[in-house]
Symmetry: C2
């Protein structure tokens, strides 16, 4: 990996572990093994580097989700694959955790990729649920947008509960509950 | 309010707004109007003060939830009252946000009230759902513990999505989706 990539990778890790306010330029330099001059050669500063890191995490998250949403199977099978994908539940979501960073949320440039990621996820899931309703797989009473929002929320909240309990099982249980609720709408 | 109470109240606000890592003893002193000597007279330091603040937030959260869980109405009406209670969705959950604080999660004393709060919420909701199943209000196929975990998760995730979108409506939509899913299980 070249220095620019190492800086981005280290910033992504630190944002995930410690958040924006807890990530210093010095910590990024130490983890990436890049010097201060090299860091400021590639990036204007911490916000610029964080923007690149957040954008990269958002793209990866969407790419993985799209592999499941666009994969084989019925609508419920694809949603199940997405919710049941093995995740490092105790680490939490690299994008969702940024919503707890006041410095990220009050900076429009840094918040934008976070907002766009969840809007994309919700839209994509709502489209799948509408498809399931149209093809008769799901009952007509299901609200695609509200249900999609609840499913994205249960995943983000599953991380919160797993971290609170220090147990990845709690995350799995939240997904079980969400899928159990959804299954009642399968015709 | 006496000085000790002002210190606790200020710490609760700062933890909610900026998290543990973003809350300095100096900021607590400034917000509470208490001097350094006064702060260290009442508390051994930031962890001790944070423990009092987190415990207070956890007790308040449980007290409000219990008012709805133990209130009038059917099981689904009480769960609806809980999920639909007006919340400051953009501020997020004062207890849930602590799960993103590595310094809170790695300190067993500070993590305990966070863990206990979510375990209590999930148990209480699971008990309600089991009651609804036993009295014939909810269908027998509903798994009380998994469903309760999903409902607590959707609330926590609703905050995440509301903050990401800078819109409290997204929180409401997640609750709509969760209740829509639950309604299919009402007999």
């Amino acid at each position: 990996m070249d220095t620019r990539e190492r800086l981005i990778a280290s910033t992504r890790e630190l944002l995930w572990e410690r958040g924006y306010v807890g990530t210093s330029p010095k910590a990024i330099q130490e983890r990436s093994g890049a010097g201060q001059g090299s860091m400021y050669h590639h990036f204007r500063g911490k916000p610029d580097l964080a923007l690149a890191a957040i954008g990269r995490s958002a793209e990866e998250l969407k790419g993985r989700a799209e592999a499941e949403f666009g994969g084989p199977g019925t609508v419920v099978e694809r949603i199940t694959a997405y919710l049941r994908r093995e995740r490092d539940a105790l680490k939490g979501c690299p994008v969702g955790r940024l919503t707890q960073d006041p410095d990220v949320m009050t900076d429009p440039d840094l918040r934008r990729p976070v907002e766009e990621t969840f809007a994309w996820l919700t839209d994509r899931l709502a489209g799948l649920l509408a498809e399931g309703r149209a093809n008769g797989e799901l009952d007509a009473g299901l609200d695609p947008v509200a249900t999609a929002t609840a499913l994205v929320a249960v995943l983000q909240g599953g991380y919160v509960l797993a971290r609170a309990a220090d147990s990845a099982e709690v995350y799995t249980r939240a997904m079980d509950g969400a899928l159990g609720l959804l299954t009642a709408h399968v015709r």
